[in-house]
Symmetry: C2
Subunit: 195 residues, 2 copies
DNA sequence: GTCTATAGTAAGATAGAC
DNA sequence: GTCTATCTTACTATAGAC
């Protein structure tokens, strides 16, 4: 798999990002060396520094890219309707979007502690924007009387935690289809908020 | 804080475990060096090896100790009553037990990937035993007609994920008391299972 | 753009003095 | 039981040839 001398920036760049993402998710940022990433990509360690100034930037760029993509995809998704309809759409969106991005969501929540303080602030702000969408839905639902929640802010965190858990066990081709998973989780979320 | 020569096995042992637990939870197993643990304990790095054969054993012993304690505490907790009563007790137990052990639960779920395969098998089996308790409650509730769940196995994972999320944000002395947190989560769990 | 080679640092773990 | 000192390995990052 190792390559000889040559120019491959259009291939190597994405491969470095994909490989780093996969390894960071599987083994953790601190446990993955630049040499290991390079070996799996098929280059020498020094070549990585043509694409990232350092290892921390590699992690940060992966996380920021994921959050930007997530927020953009969310902005494109359906947002109208009653709070119940919006909550169902949020549940469906969250599960579907992350279904084939288990690495991204895992890193986004687990590698926060390995970011420098400045980088952490940026990612945390983006994460807050995403979770505010769910908070808004829950608050609207309580206001309209559709939902019965003791504490919408805590409910936001509870629902996000529950939905994120999907990626820890769901595997395509397993016992359940994605549509079935969505139905099971929506059933629990809907009932949990009292809709 | 550094100590001079002397015998302190009764003090140093627990301090090493406490310090390693805290640092592993805060920064991750791979990111914490033996030198760093030793520095916070107040000994030199070499002294740690009087208490653990290696770093991996230190992590494994912490995780196994936590799971053993958790299962023992669970065995002592109330187990009788209807499925609804048992589910409420499980919810209360899980939140209360982990409230002042956020480091332990964080490590138990996040550092699994840093265990050797043999050690992973042991911890995973203990974790399965704990989650089986919840699965049993949910299955009994479905059988008795108290709960309406599409898939009790998925519900088990969803509820565990939701409850584990508590430790990521709950801080003693914050806006909510532990009793309030228990009430909020029980309200959502109860409704989610259709009780 | 990638290579080889290496500088400089830090890691896990051990040996032997006290 | 702890210390100092060290072995060996591995790490991030850089320099210069091609």
């Amino acid at each position: 798999m190792a390559r000889t001398t040559g120019s491959h920036s259009d291939i190597t760049g994405p491969r470095i990002r994909e490989t780093a993402l996969r390894l960071f998710a599987a083994e953790g940022y601190a446990a993955v060396s630049m040499r290991k990433i390079a070996a799996e990509v098929g280059v020498q360690a020094g070549a990585l520094y043509n694409y990232t100034p350092d290892k921390q930037s590699l992690l940060f760029d992966l996380m920021r890219g994921h959050m930007d993509d997530l927020l953009a995809a969310r902005a494109d998704a359906g947002q109208g309707g009653t709070p119940t309809q919006r909550l169902q759409e949020f549940t469906r969106f969250h599960i579907t979007y992350h279904e084939d991005r288990p690495h991204e969501i895992f890193i986004a929540y687990m590698e926060l502690r390995n970011l420098t303080p400045e980088n952490f602030e940026v990612i945390e702000a983006l994460r807050g924007r995403y979770e505010d969408e769910l908070s808004g839905i829950l608050q609207d639902g309580v206001a309209s009387g559709e939902f019965t929640l003791i504490d919408p802010r805590i409910a936001t965190r509870a629902i996000i935690s529950m939905l994120n858990g999907v990626t820890t066990w769901y595997r395509r081709g397993g016992r359940l289809s994605l549509a079935e998973v969505e139905a099971i989780y929506w059933d629990m979320v809907r009932k949990a908020v009292g809709a």
